[in-house]
């Protein structure tokens, strides 16, 4: 490895601009003639729109125009779609109701957009938005999924009877029931996965620019995948054909999944720009973000885990109800199915699994993938169940896991996934040692002498990253392929541009991708530029989510680099009069191995561009592109241990220790990987102890619509995390990478909850384990 190559703890190139306030986000974009948008939003959870009167608003100062959904439909702008087809057990396709970018007949959640105002200033736009008179006829509403399924509840979309979107299943029901019938022990538990608001630091924003002269649209948007945004806006929403639409996602301040989807606002800003003839910018405020960013999680599951007399797991039966909110967001259907139930085998050898998932409409904001997407739900369910089983069986939780671990690879689970490699025991052992597991009882006794209840809990997670083999996901209903693209442009002077379809919104691609080039071509990372996030600059790509940018995005770069290297060697062999197979590229030189014959890298690249002396038939230049389609998912795994002290008088939980032992395969930049783990754990602990979206069931209003009521994790509630790696390189991709972006958020909630329930001796506790809930659980014993 070079000093800046693979494995080096290089500080992040992009941080200088971020830390000095020089990042350029959508809201920093200013174009001539730009005006500001405000959306008129439904104050009701569910209502018929009897009429919309725009006249008063149009007369307000500074207003350019006020537009509503009817006109948008007349202009042929299409419905928002969900891009992954799921079929119910009975073979019927999912029941998708219409999602208009601007609702004109019915609103289905508080925050549903009804009209857009374009004005000279943001303040004037907001003033005028209040002057739009919408005559609503409130309808009964329902915010809880289990309630929404019952007869006699409000019907949210005519397409979905009893609000059921699909009733899907996976696995072998007969085998599972048979194993349950003969089990020596069955652990039964209800698992609730609380609903979360994603809260990226940068709220969503959009700037739509219609160019009359060229009949061309530009959309600046806070997107994790600008190419997919362009594709969907062209092919489904009829905003403009792809060649007439440029989508730019510049610096984006975090996404956590919520910026994968195409929302009504960007579509509406583009359309409004054409209608008004001015560029239209919208910037979400924080309350709008709480009201309209796709939420995450929100599952309720019934679980039965069967054991034989030797405490081996023989079967797992799961029934999950997933709240989808008022509309089906872009990837919503895949989250509680193929991203969730396919991971229900966890790290364990489970011969029979059967899962049923009901997806349900409610009068709440749409729910979609959020950091981990399905895998945190699967891990939380399994790891609380296994821990509960250990307590019931009187076994050490580590031992119960150990005897059930998968130890041979590849391993075919009963739920589609084929695990390629792993060493679960290595992470378990490393975590237990780092946490001084064996010394816990002494610590517990010491804490008790101070009146504190101390507990320890673990979780052994697995996830599927590197999303995903295109043909496989296509056969499961995905509307797109999940490959990635790259182009390597070597300039005449030898510096390099990497054009990638991945998108960095916090991940540090500008550094890690450059490290790969540094490793391969022996140049400093300052000579490498990463270009991403602009459909006019970068070839079609699929974006960043599901921890795919390393395993898939970098694999595409490797493929393109292979081609560049092959051509460079061929040219060098010609110029140095040597055999191609003797050429090596290192330390900024192209050498003939074992001789002192060499060219400086820039001499070679210049020769490629002067083209004065090329081998017979070689094209000038040095630039190669590649598409990489993964052959399998990757399977990061690990063991997390959390130790807590509960104050029984107040219910306050103090995290005294948190250990993470992860297998991410090979690692490009350990510092960045640790940062991803730290952030993920903070987010997971946020879910487990603090965060939770609450709708008032009586009014359908979002109670947690600001930080006054939505509790985020803060530095002072988190301990210093102790992180280690036990890596088994992934055999499925050239760099041996598995992915690390979501692990922290996946593994940490059950570790925390297992620790708290251990401390208080009461397993009847749901996330977030707030002081009030913990206090009640302490006193319920």
């Amino acid at each position: 490895m070079g000093v800046e190559g693979i494995g080096a703890r290089v500080t992040r190139k992009e941080d200088k601009r971020f830390l000095t306030g020089k990042g350029r986000y959508v809201d920093d974009m200013v174009v001539p003639g730009m005006k500001f948008a405000a959306f008129v939003r439904s104050p009701h959870a569910h209502a018929k729109i009897k009429s919309i009167d725009l006249s008063a608003a149009k007369d307000m100062p500074g207003v350019i125009d006020v537009l509503e959904g009817k006109a948008m439909q007349e202009d042929g702008i299409g419905n928002l779609i969900c891009g992954w087809m799921i079929h119910s057990k009975d073979g019927s396709p999912m029941n998708m109701g219409a999602w208009r970018p601007l609702a004109y007949d019915t609103v289905r959640y508080v925050g549903d957009a009804v009209a857009i105002v374009v004005a000279d200033s943001q303040a004037e736009a907001r003033d005028a938005a209040e002057a739009v008179v919408v005559d609503y006829e409130p309808l009964p509403h329902v915010t809880e999924a289990l309630t929404a399924l019952q007869d006699g509840q409000p019907q949210i979309h005519p397409e979905a009877k009893n609000n059921l979107i699909y009733d899907w299943e996976i696995g072998d029901q007969a085998a599972t029931e048979a194993a349950l019938a003969t089990a020596a022990h069955i652990t039964e538990i209800e698992i609730t996965n609380n609903r979360l608001s994603p809260n990226p630091m940068e709220p969503r924003a959009a700037l739509g620019i219609y160019d009359t002269a060229e009949d061309h649209y530009t959309c600046y948007t806070t997107s994790q995948n600008p190419h997919a945004a362009r594709l969907v806006m062209s092919a489904f929403y009829n905003v403009a054909p792809e060649n007439k639409l440029r989508v730019i996602a510049p610096d984006v301040g975090g996404g956590f999944g919520s910026k994968i989807y195409i929302y009504p606002e960007e579509i509406t800003c583009l359309w409004a720009s054409r209608k008004t003839g001015v560029p239209v910018k919208w910037n979400s405020d924080r309350t709008e973000a709480f009201l309209t960013d796709a939420h995450g999680r929100d599952h309720v599951s019934q679980v039965k885990m069967a054991f034989d007399a030797n405490n081996r797991i023989t079967a797992l039966k799961v029934e999950t109800t997933a709240n989808f909110g008022a509309y089906m967001s872009l990837f919503s259907s895949a989250v509680p199915t193929y991203l969730y139930a396919t991971l229900l085998s966890g790290q364990y050898n489970i011969p029979a699994i059967h899962a049923e998932v009901k997806a349900v409409y409610t009068n709440t904001v749409p729910v979609d993938a959020y950091r981990g997407a399905g895998r945190p739900e699967a891990t939380y369910l399994l790891e609380r169940t296994v821990e509960t089983a250990a307590r019931e069986l009187g076994m050490s939780p580590a031992e119960l896991r150990r005897i059930n671990f998968i130890r041979e690879f590849p391993h075919q689970t009963p739920v589609i996934m084929n695990y390629d490699t792993g060493d679960y025991e290595a992470s378990l052992n490393a975590a237990m040692e780092a946490a001084d597991w064996n010394g816990f009882e002494a610590r517990r006794a010491e804490a008790a002498s101070r009146g504190k209840k101390r507990g320890i809990g673990m979780s052994c997670y697995i996830e599927a990253c590197g999303i995903a083999p295109s043909a496989a996901v296509g056969s499961l209903g995905a509307g797109v392929g999940l490959w990635e693209s790259a182009e390597v442009r070597v300039n005449a002077v030898g510096t390099v541009e990497i054009l990638t379809g991945s998108h960095s919104h916090g991940q540090g691609h500008e550094t890690t991708f450059a490290q790969l080039v540094s490793e391969r071509l022996g140049m400093p990372i300052s000579n490498v530029n990463i270009v991403h996030g602009d459909t006019d600059k970068v070839q079609m790509g699929m974006g960043t989510y599901g921890s795919r940018s390393g395993a898939v995005g970098m694999s595409a770069i490797v493929k393109a680099l292979d081609k560049v290297e092959a051509k460079a060697k061929k040219l060098a062999a010609h110029l140095l009069e040597a055999d191609e197979s003797d050429i090596v590229i290192e330390d900024g030189q192209v050498k003939v191995a074992g001789t002192d014959k060499a060219l400086q890298w820039f001499e070679l690249t210049l020769a490629a561009y002067t083209a004065h002396n090329l081998p017979e038939g070689m094209e000038p230049g040095l630039k190669e592109g590649a598409f990489y389609d993964p052959s399998n998912f990757t399977f990061p795994a690990g063991c997390y241990i959390c130790e807590v002290e509960v104050d029984p008088e107040t219910g306050v939980t103090d995290i005294v220790q948190f250990v993470a032992a992860d297998d991410f395969g090979n690692i490009i930049n350990p510092m960045i990987v640790e940062g991803q783990v730290h952030g993920g754990i903070a987010q997971g602990i946020g879910q487990a102890m603090l965060e939770g979206v609450h709708y008032d069931p009586d009014t359908g209003q979002l109670i947690t619509a600001s930080y006054m009521d939505y509790a985020m994790p803060r530095a002072d509630v988190l301990p210093s995390f102790e992180v280690s790696h036990q890596n088994t390189p992934c055999p499925g991709n050239p760099l041996g990478l598995k992915g690390c972006g979501e692990a922290g958020a996946i593994g940490s909630p059950p570790a925390f909850m297992n620790a708290v329930t251990d401390a208080i001796g009461n397993n009847n506790l749901t996330m977030p384990a707030t002081p009030q809930k913990v206090w009640e659980a302490v006193n319920r014993i």
């Binding site: 209040e130 930080y707 009521d709 509790a711 707030t770 009030q772 009640e776």
Partner: protein
């Protein structure tokens, strides 16, 4: 934010006269409550009269055990005053736990008390320390000042200029912070001056800050954490919300009272 007109007053009289001319004016201190409310379009004053440049409203003076705090003094200055800490460290500690550093450098004691948020910290200190609320018109005893949620004895054009009190022998504030907002969910301020004990509770009461007579009597006869442990706190009188039921708040009031007494020594 709706359009508004900003005025800077350099004296209390000027502030009153500016407000008198405004259609629907509001005094502005640190703005940590008022500006946030305006940004959310929940308040729309026609005019803002800024009190931050009135020197006479700022600063802390301590004379023996007599303390006077200008209403325009920011939380940071209260938290870090060595003079105040020497006679009443409890008030410094209270101020040091309000919000975050930004809030503590902007927000003022006068703004907080005038606003009388049921979850704010200062109102408990005003009551427990038996402060006199000094305004441009009169002096108001603490017991007469707070009138329920966000309501006070202040008239529209009345400005709090200062607070005065005698530092007690012993005092302490124990706060259970709301996990989201970090305002008080149950904050108890205890103060003891000879046989006179005052216990004020914020964050928990459904009618805002209040004194707890039962605890005061118990502590007057026996100043110890155990003395409050047996006292009944009525859940009926408590707020109930997403973060804490009235039962939980009633319980926390007792726990915080115990901890405050223990901390006061």
């Amino acid at each position: 934010m709706y359009e508004t007109t900003y005025h800077r007053a350099s004296s209390v009289d000027e502030a009153v006269s500016l407000l008198g001319k405004a259609e629907d004016g509001k005094f502005l201190a640190g703005g940590m409550t008022l500006i946030a409310t305006m940004k959310q379009r929940l308040a729309a004053p026609s005019d803002l009269v800024d009190l931050r440049h009135i020197d006479a409203m700022k600063g802390i003076s301590v004379n023996g055990r007599s303390v006077r705090i200008g209403a325009g003094t920011c939380h940071y200055d209260v938290a870090s005053s060595a003079e105040l800490r020497a006679v009443c460290p409890a008030l410094c500690d209270l101020a040091s736990h309000i919000g975050d550093p930004h809030v503590r450098h902007m927000g003022t004691i006068g703004g907080s008390v005038a606003n009388n948020d049921p979850a704010a910290d200062y109102p408990s200190a005003v009551l427990a320390l038996n402060m006199t609320v000094i305004t441009n018109k009169r002096e108001i005893a603490a017991d007469d000042f707070f009138k329920g949620l966000f309501e006070t004895a202040l008239e529209e054009d009345e400005i709090i200029t200062a607070f005065s009190f005698e530092a007690p022998e012993k005092a302490a504030y124990a706060k259970f912070a709301n996990p989201a907002s970090r305002y008080a969910m149950a904050g108890v301020f205890v103060a003891k001056n000879g046989g006179d004990v005052r216990v004020a509770v914020t964050g928990a009461g459904s009618d805002g800050v209040f004194r707890h007579a039962g605890m005061e009597q118990a502590l007057a006869s026996h100043w110890s954490a155990d003395a409050v442990a047996g006292i009944h706190v009525d859940a009926e009188d408590m707020l109930s919300d997403l973060h804490g039921t009235s039962e939980y708040r009633a319980h926390l009031v007792k726990v915080m009272a115990k901890r405050a007494v223990a901390a006061a020594g």
